[in-house]
Amino acid sequence: MLIGNRVKYLGIVFGVVFAALLIAQQSSIFCGIMLLTIGQIRDVEGPGIWVMDRNVEFIDDIKPMSDTDLFRVKGVKGVDWAVAFYKGLVRARMEKGDFHQVILLGIDDATLIGAPEGLFMGTLSDLRTPEAVIMDDAGYARIWPGEPFVLGKVFEMNDHRAVLVGITKASRTFQSFPIIYTRYSQAVLFAPSERKVLSFVLANPKPGIPAEDVCRTITTSTGLQALTRDQFMKKTIRHFLMKTGIPVNFGITVMLGFLVGTAIAGQTFYLFTIENIKQFGALKAMGTSNRTILLMVLSQAVQVGIVGYGVGVGLAALFGWGTRGLTKLAFFMPWQVLVLTAVAVFLIILLASLLSIRKVLVVDPAIVFRG
């Protein structure tokens, strides 16, 4: 090891840890939020195709179609089946008179396609009874904080009575409103009366026909926008990436972590080099080639980088693990985050050692006899 000074060594490592931690943690939260944005698409597992208005940009961007559009989609060649899907923000009025914004999802009366998987209270078939709704557990906890989960709760939406018959564990959504499932015909009643209510048509291609092809056929023959499940997720994520300030905010924090980390590590490394410049000069006088010196400095930097990366990413993962119970924080660390952080750390140690490398390469071995 080159760096004999423990304080300096820790200083350099600290710079790298700081940057790695901030970058890994912030990008993981960012990825978590991106995952939230597509949570509602992922929750609807059956259909391979989502059909919507031409101008819809993402899942929460509802532009109602007319009911006849469902039959037009059903008639398209290659479509196996198609069902209506309602999604909207609705005000729910509780027994005590308090109001809550909720996300209302209306699924096909006959098939219940789009229903949540795995209720943890109640049975799905109870949704067929009049006025029946299913709510997600997080939403329940928001509306009735501290109360145990019980079925049979009654409330109102648009002056229509709703009865809770099931509780599910839905993916958290970006907006984090309670989510209420009901039949489509019921949703139409719960929704504020509008001329058009059909939000999406969920469809599936006939076996053997690629979903992409069917989407194209739907679009050309109906003028509606048809996307595969994957395409819709990507489009939604792209919307949040391009049209919102979220990536910029996270980008700024990540950049800051990068810069501060580079500054700390670089400055400490440089100070160390200056302090030991005569030792480097002595090594050169004794016949160490520039190449060897370069390798020495770089291998030291890489060693610091590996330690800093490990500790930083480890701390970030620990943070994610520690906050996993808190519903407010989204944290998702895919391998891309690890790669991004590794690249950033590599750049940091490269930048940090650059000045030092320059310094030791130009040092004249003749200085060793001076003073």
Partner: protein, 253 residues
């Protein structure tokens, strides 16, 4: 293939170092310093030559040129039969690695390494296996009386001990030229004498040469020859094996 290699142009000379008409200028114009103004000097094999003279007279400049860390402005510098003036800088790096040992006033040991690791550095630079290098370094440290401090850190040693580690490092690869610039000026009288005694005992060998720059008249009696410098030139060279070098006292600074 070249028939004429300027570096090896001279047949092995009978002196280890031959310097003729060497000048060295630093800077230019108003800032021109003539550090060396035509130096002639021979250092025979098997001898310890002390280079003495007032501060600023050019001693460090001269030994730097002889050791191959500094390029002379003019003149002939033949060291161990090689013409340093004709060497490319990469050749000089290799020449220093293989042939020159250095002892500095400020030791310049690596604080992150142990005593034995420091002493092994020249061998590791030369590409030795680490275990062999450590073994060779231990041997010479033993000779220098540091056998019990092998795994100490440099910072745990006294100045005299550090300078002995530096001597071990300078000699471990058995260089044929040892260059020491004021090796005793950071040490007290006793450690200064011990240092020079060790250098004269271990480093002086029939096929090697030692140059010691010093101010320190207390150690003159370890010299085989004393070359006095003044104002960038050699004023006199006395052979201590025939003359008494201790008195009359030479010029001191």
């Amino acid at each position: 293939m070249t028939l004429f290699d300027p570096v090896d142009a001279l047949s092995e000379t009978d002196v280890a170092v031959r310097v003729r008409g060497v000048t060295k200028e630093f800077g230019s114009g108003d800032w021109l310093t003539k550090a060396l103004r035509g130096v002639d000097l021979d250092v025979p094999y098997g001898a310890l030559l002390m280079l003495v003279g007032p501060s600023g007279c050019g001693k460090t400049t001269l030994v730097s040129i002889v050791a191959g860390t500094l390029q002379a402005t003019e003149g002939e510098v033949i060291v161990l039969g090689k013409d340093l003036a004709a060497m490319k800088s990469s050749q000089k790096v290799r020449f220093r690695r293989d042939n020159v040992g250095f002892v500095f006033q400020s030791y310049n040991l690596l604080p992150a390494l142990t005593v034995v690791e420091n002493a092994a550095v020249p061998l590791i630079i030369a590409g030795w296996r680490r275990s062999h290098a450590i073994e060779a370094a231990s041997e010479i440290l033993d000779q220098l009386g540091l056998g019990n401090r092998m795994t100490s850190l440099i910072t745990e040693l006294s100045g005299g001990q550090q300078q002995r580690v530096a001597i071990a490092r300078a000699l471990v690869h058995e260089p044929r030229l040892l260059v020491c610039d004021e090796p005793t000026s950071s040490l007290d009288a006793e450690n200064g004498r011990i240092t020079l005694e060790l250098i004269s005992k271990i480093a002086v060998q029939p096929d090697r040469a030692v140059i010691v720059v010093t101010h320190d008249s207390r150690v003159y009696d370890f010299a085989d020859q004393i070359a006095s410098m003044e104002d960038g030139q050699i004023k006199s060279v006395r052979d201590c094996r025939t003359n008494a070098c201790k008195n009359p006292p030479l010029e001191n600074s």
